[in-house]
């Protein structure tokens, strides 16, 4: 059973003249297989930093604490090793990669993560099925990755990758932002399909409660000023919906 454990994680950004700035100030979080965790918080609270630090983005420096996946030290792994170990980050702003087609990219990623190249026919079939499920036009397979895609198309493709790579734990960084309600439903269904087997964990980072109507969290964590300041069940999301982040922002600032 997959378990992602984050212990007392401190993360800084930048070095150079202005010096490093601490963004995460001691995060504790455990995501087990079968669980969906929502992390909610105001802008600048460090939600995305958590996502990128887990994935290993070079811009962020872990200054102390630990991240393990099934006991393995994630922080000692390179970015690609983390992905092959079973971590997935759905990006808030997926980059455009000119000249690299969606199908070529997916096949390379699937080959890397599974450790062997899928048969071309099987792969084509699998990709088509996954694209259909997300209402993605098959013509996208031949287009350059994310190039000229709308915001909604990019997010669908992030979920397409999620469903094809089948990680142990998926971190979704504001996958819901910028989506209209139809796209939100399609994307949510994809996340639910991914989580439905019970052997995978989801860490869903969001600014809004809207997506939580479609993806039901088991746990809700409120993030402020670089740490978890409140935790609870789905009822906490309701409270945030009604009352906003104000009291947590104050609490975070004074701690």
């Amino acid at each position: 059973m997959a378990t992602l454990e984050i212990r007392d994680l401190h993360v800084s950004v930048g070095d150079g003249a202005e010096g490093a700035k601490e963004i995460l100030r001691g995060v504790d979080l455990t995501v087990r297989a079968g669980e969906t965790h929502a992390i909610m918080g105001p802008n600048g609270s460090g939600k995305s930093t958590l996502a990128y630090a887990i994935a290993g983005h070079p811009k962020y420096t872990v200054t102390s604490g630990s991240v393990t996946l099934d006991g393995e030290d994630v922080l000692a792994m390179s970015v690609d090793e983390r992905a092959r170990a079973g971590l997935f980050l759905a990006m808030q702003y997926p980059v455009e990669v000119p000249g690299v087609s969606v199908s070529n990219f997916l096949r390379s990623a699937v080959t890397a993560v599974r450790g062997e190249a899928p048969k071309l026919r099987d792969f084509a079939k699998e990709m088509k099925g996954a694209m259909d499920a997300l209402s993605i036009d098959p013509a996208f397979a031949q287009r350059s990755l994310n190039e000229g895609f709308s915001g909604g198309e990019k997010k669908r493709h992030e979920i397409l990758q999620l469903e094809m790579l089948k990680p142990k734990v998926a971190v979704l960084d504001e996958t819901d932002s910028g989506l209209d309600v139809d796209a939100l439903k399609v994307v949510s269904e994809g996340v639910n399909r991914f989580g439905s087997g019970g052997d995978t964990g989801v860490l869903l980072i969001t600014h809004y409660t809207r997506i939580l109507r479609y993806v039901k969290p088991d746990f809700v964590h409120v993030f402020a000023a670089g740490r978890v300041v409140a935790a609870g069940g789905p009822e906490l999301a309701e409270e945030l919906e009604n009352e906003g982040y104000e009291k947590y922002v104050k609490a975070g600032a004074s701690s």
Binding site: A55, S78, D80, F88, V97, V113, Q161
Partner: protein, 374 residues
């Protein structure tokens, strides 16, 4: 601000068939300042010993005639007048020329292939090739350069009214080759010309593709892919002279550089003269720097002497591999090395894909893979 009648650039003003009309370059001239003259082995100053061998081997497509002719053939030299000393030297020095003719209204799908093989880099060789596509004919010509050589040549493309010519020129020389080439295209009314230059091998390669229009409606697309390794100097100097109305040109050259003293030069000169109303032009050069120690000189130069253009633009960008690209691919499990290859392949591949001859396209892909393996 009024529009001048003459372009500020004087780079392309001089023209003569006589070598003596051109001063020996010193390296301070605008047109020579990026080129390491010492490595030209005397092609530029008359000291090159001229008994080197570059052998042409021809595979003509059905319906296309290919002839080997002497210097006095009247079809030679119609598309151009040499505009620099090496071009004039090549014109003065070649012994035999190859003339490719696509007769009027002949449409040929198969490519005509001219293979040039150099056998000796120690002695200079000079060449001349003229491709004539008569009115309403369509053809594809592949020029493949291999081996060891010190070689200067002029290549003429005369594309008749309503005709279409696609040219793919591969510069895949051995490491010690020097090649200075001028490719001159002259386009008739409504003629279409597509050129792909793929430059990978050689110690020093300096190509100067140029386009002139004889009548309105001409359309030129000039593409280039180059991969510069340590110590190589690969230079492409493009010149599109819009002096007729309603013509179009597109230039897109892309290169990758790796290892110490890899040097790419790209010059993109476009002049839209006062009489060239309705011109539509865009030129682009992009360079991907893969390691430290390389150097790129990229100089786009667009002069517009008429207010009535459809479009005129240029862009140049040189940069390292984008860390965000690499992070994204790595975050999907792809190793750093493979991620780098995918990005470079994608960057150059967008132009390679446009090569219409499948076998050539595949060869170019393989050659780029070989570069990535170095």
């Amino acid at each position: 601000m009024g529009l001048d009648e003459r372009p500020l650039s004087t780079l392309h003003e001089k023209a003569s068939y006589d070598v003596a009309d051109f001063e020996v370059p010193t390296g301070r001239e605008e047109e020579w300042r990026f080129t390491p003259l010492r490595r030209l082995r005397g092609l530029h100053n008359g000291t090159a010993e001229g008994d080197g061998k570059v052998i042409a081997d021809v595979e003509a497509a059905p319906g296309v005639t290919v002839e080997t002719v002497g210097r006095d053939d009247p079809r030679l030299g119609r598309a151009f007048v040499p505009a620099d000393r090496v071009s004039a030297q090549a014109w003065a020095s070649f012994a035999q020329a190859t003339v490719v003719t696509v007769p009027k209204e002949t449409e040929v799908a198969e490519p005509t292939v001219l293979r040039f093989r150099g056998e000796d880099a120690g002695a200079a060789a000079y060449g001349h090739t003229t491709v004539v596509v008569e009115p309403f004919a369509r053809a594809t010509v592949v020029l493949a350069h291999r081996g060891r050589a010190t070689y200067a040549d002029n290549v003429e493309f005369v594309v008749g009214d309503g005709a279409a010519l696609s040219v793919i020129s591969l510069q895949d020389w051995d490491d010690d080759a020097v090649h200075v080439s001028h490719q001159h295209a002259r386009l008739g009314r409504d003629a279409r010309f597509v050129s792909h230059n793929v430059t990978l091998g050689g110690d020093l390669v300096r190509l100067s593709p140029s386009v002139v229009y004889d009548a309105p409606g001409g359309d030129a697309e000039l593409y280039g892919v180059y991969f510069v390794d340590g110590g190589q100097h690969l230079e492409h100097r493009l010149f599109v002279d819009h002096d007729r109305p309603h013509c179009r040109s597109r230039v897109d050259y892309r290169g990758a550089l790796q290892d110490a003293d890899a040097h790419a030069v790209w010059i993109g000169d476009v002049i839209i003269r006062a009489e060239a109303e309705g011109t539509d032009t865009y030129e682009l050069n992009r360079n991907l720097v893969l390691t430290d120690g390389t150097r790129v000189d990229s100089v786009p130069n667009l002069e517009i002497l008429t207010g009535e253009v459809v479009g005129a633009g240029h862009a140049s960008a040189s940069g390292r591999l984008d860390d965000e690209h690499l992070f994204y691919l790595q975050a999907r499990g792809i190793s750093l090395d493979e991620a780098r290859r995918m990005v470079v392949r994608g960057f150059l591949g967008q132009l390679v894909e446009r090569i219409e001859v499948p076998e050539v396209r595949e060869k170019v892909r393989e050659a780029i893979e070989a570069e990535l393996d170095r």
